[in-house]
Subunit: 471 residues, 2 copies
């Protein structure tokens, strides 16, 4: 019953956060009575005991106080700073849920940058790329003065339709695609359109931490689905869909971030059936599809979809020209249309310059050769790290593609302390905790081998294991 | 008492919308009792009579029903489709407030495009621009492989600090700036960070309609401030700030969109004092500062700010290389910091390619010559339109800069019909109604003269006035 313990814990924490948020937003003021346990349990669809325990913790933390035989009331001490800050109208009051833990770590400048799941710029064919850009500006001399349509350049969308047909036998039209500025924006737009506060959503455990932060900002409640080298426990997934009726399942089934796992083909087909049955939109984030080592990954879940229950987020630029930031959101027009409106409000369209450069580069012959070389370079880097780590006693499943190793450290090693000390010595990595919707997984870390060169990789990993050994 | 009639109308509509939204979100279900008039009046800080009238209209429209001596209840007919749609879990249910009226009009392809407040690409020095890009790629050969920091390229921010000092005597450091993908994204980030649902915000009447749509999406309540060729009625502004304690005032005081008006220098100084006194953050949107005809506009309101009550949105690329989409959000670090987090979630940083190209182009000598030519070209276009319109009987205040004419049509002319018929004949413009937070101003239109060439301008305006004459 490990999973259901997690569920209860999660619901408990979310109930606690829900009350805190309402107080912070000023919806519940000092001395206001909290909703009755029965009522809130009903509203949040959780067990009364869960609400009871959340209220007990609120009381312990002096957020609320109890009047005998009457109920729970908002403590004036807690609201004091909230209210004074609010009535002060300090303009620096921002929404309470705004945080990006990954970005905070990545912004710290270090020599051994293992927290960036990005391609080393030196692995890109830079000279060729620059020459290429010049050609593109000869083809479109007015490129710098022209806006893209909100949905994205039609020539690019047309090309991507053909690409999807050729590589994945998926038949599309240009109205099925929306171009966004990177995959992150795609996740954000989906979150804004399809998640309402307090909605249940399924997320992998662990998952991409910035996605969790985006969903948190929108007020979502997480239902974690464990991912393993064999994929998901589909019976568990079905049970969760039945029980919570989540609006969406955000997943990253191919060279999963952070673990590197890939969900097998038979599960892909079944997931689409579950999505249809329980009317849960699958958000398939496919950021590095072509970054495999020995053989290509299975076809996208999207390719099994006939009824429109999958939205496919395909980042294309990440391994050819990451600076361009080109992602396609693909789905049936009724799902895409509200996202186009959201995009029109968010930035009115991805710059045309980026789309045209990407299009012409991506359709060139040269790109295929580049990808071949890149796969080999990444595999070598991965093997270097694995070699350096072989004496540490840490464990991992060797990934078949992607940019990261997901490492299990000894239980007694305090990862937060390790990160602090590592950063002090110019090594950074991602602590597993921020990838976990339950904020646990304290013995795991994500180490990206894609961003620094082979020499630095060797030195940095040695340094990291030395630091760890001293703990 | 014209203004206060507007206020009441507005609050009435917002109260009505508030209930509708709560029903649509499923917070109020069929046969649920509405909050009592007294309670809701208190909560929304409106008069009881306003709530009473909103409830009456809800009843008239069959959204709610009345039980004698008991109160108002949600009508099952109205919630039926909402609920079934919700339990169906159709993934195409998007947030009710998602709309971009301007974008909808602009997306209709027409020959005489007067709804785009953008520079005609033919007015840009395209050949020079292309040559320029090639140089930039020689300077930064790895540009396509490199991500920008979330806050924006430091070299660009450094340059913009110097620019602001040179042109506006404003002393800044790089931490005061955030680079966004166009001004629209800047407004969106501010909205997400600084507006909570039901917050009062001041907006000009009329104003940029996409900004209204962005604020609506966030659940803001509008308090309109009339803008005239003489600026605002500052006594009225003070009264509104005192009464409603708005968190922000979104304004566009220089070659205002859609009217072209410019707020005079003495008011600029006083506005900063009011902002300080009532702790209301001024969002100064300055998109086309250098697009003046005879003389430069007054210094930005931001230049009078000493205490950090102004956030300055300066679009730079709009008139030099609009395809690049470069805007700077400028303010004190405590205000900028949460916006950086929001930016990290929204798209993780504006592409570096765009920032570097812009930087090197914008600091070139050539750009100054280009601006000089552009001003003359725009003034000529404006004069062509004014000449063509001189026999229509329509009235307007001739703008001293910018891209638009704000035209008052005869009261009896049905603008919505006119727009439909015009689009049928391949002319488009922006109806004043969508620029009005009260959704009135039915006799006004915005006509942009910046996007089409002189010949088309003449033909299109003639066609438009012919169509109007036939009504």
């Amino acid at each position: 019953m490990h999973a259901s313990t997690n569920d209860t814990k999660l619901l408990f924490r979310q109930t606690y956060d829900y009350i805190i948020t309402r107080i912070e937003r000023g919806e519940l003021k000092a001395h206001d009575k909290l909703p009755s346990i029965r009522l809130l349990a009903q509203e949040l669809r959780v067990h009364r005991l869960t609400v009871f325990r959340a209220y007990q913790l609120l009381k312990q933390n002096d957020k609320v106080y109890v009047k005998e035989k009457s109920g729970y009331y908002v403590s004036p001490d807690f609201t004091e700073h909230v209210i004074s800050e609010y009535t002060d109208r300090s303009p620096i009051t921002s929404s309470g849920h705004l945080k990006n833990s990954l970005s905070e770590i990545q912004q710290v400048p270090v020599i051994y940058q293992f927290s960036q799941s990005l391609i080393d710029p030196n692995l890109l064919p830079n000279l060729y790329l620059s020459e290429y850009v010049k050609k593109v500006f000869d083809i479109y001399p007015k490129l710098m003065g022209t806006y893209s349509s909100v949905q994205g350049d039609e020539e690019l969308r047309e090309f991507l339709c053909q690409y999807m047909k050729r590589h994945h036998s998926i038949q599309l039209t240009v109205s099925d695609l929306l171009i966004t500025t990177g995959g992150q924006q795609a996740i954000d737009l989906i979150s804004r359109v399809y998640i309402r506060p307090m909605d249940f959503i399924l997320v992998e455990r662990p998952t991409y931490s910035a996605a969790l932060d985006i969903f948190r900002q929108q007020g979502a409640r997480f239902i974690p689905v464990d991912i393993s080298p064999e994929g998901y426990d589909l019976e568990k997934v079905e049970m969760l869909m039945k029980q919570h009726r989540p609006r969406i399942f955000y997943m990253n089934p191919t060279f999963h971030n952070p673990t590197g796992y890939t969900v097998p083909p038979d599960q892909r087909k079944q997931l689409v059936e579950l999505a249809e049955r329980y009317r849960c939109l699958l958000i398939e984030d496919d950021a590095i599809h072509e970054m495999y080592f020995d053989q290509p990954p299975p076809q996208p879940i999207f390719s099994y979809d006939t009824d429109g229950w999958v939205v496919y987020l395909r980042s294309f630029s990440k391994y050819v020209a990451p600076g361009l930031r080109i992602c396609a959101v693909i789905g049936r027009p009724s799902v895409i249309q509200p996202l186009i409106t959201a995009k029109s409000l968010a930035d009115n369209g991805t710059p045309l310059v980026n789309q045209k450069i990407f299009l012409h580069y991506f359709e060139s012959e040269r790109i295929r050769q580049h990808l071949e070389k890149l796969r080999i370079a990444l595999q070598i880097r991965k093997e270097i790290v694995e070699e350096e780590l072989s004496t540490t006693g840490w464990s991992w499943v060797s990934p078949k593609g992607g940019f990261n190793l997901w490492l299990k450290l000894p239980e007694e090693l305090p990862v937060e302390e390790l990160l602090k000390e590592s950063i002090r010595q110019s090594v950074s990595f991602v602590p597993g905790m921020i990838c976990d919707p339950l904020r646990e997984m304290r013995s795991w870390i994500r180490l990206s081998y894609s961003f620094v060169n082979e020499g630095q990789l060797r030195d940095g990993v040695r340094l990291l294991s030395d630091i760890a050994r001293r703990f």
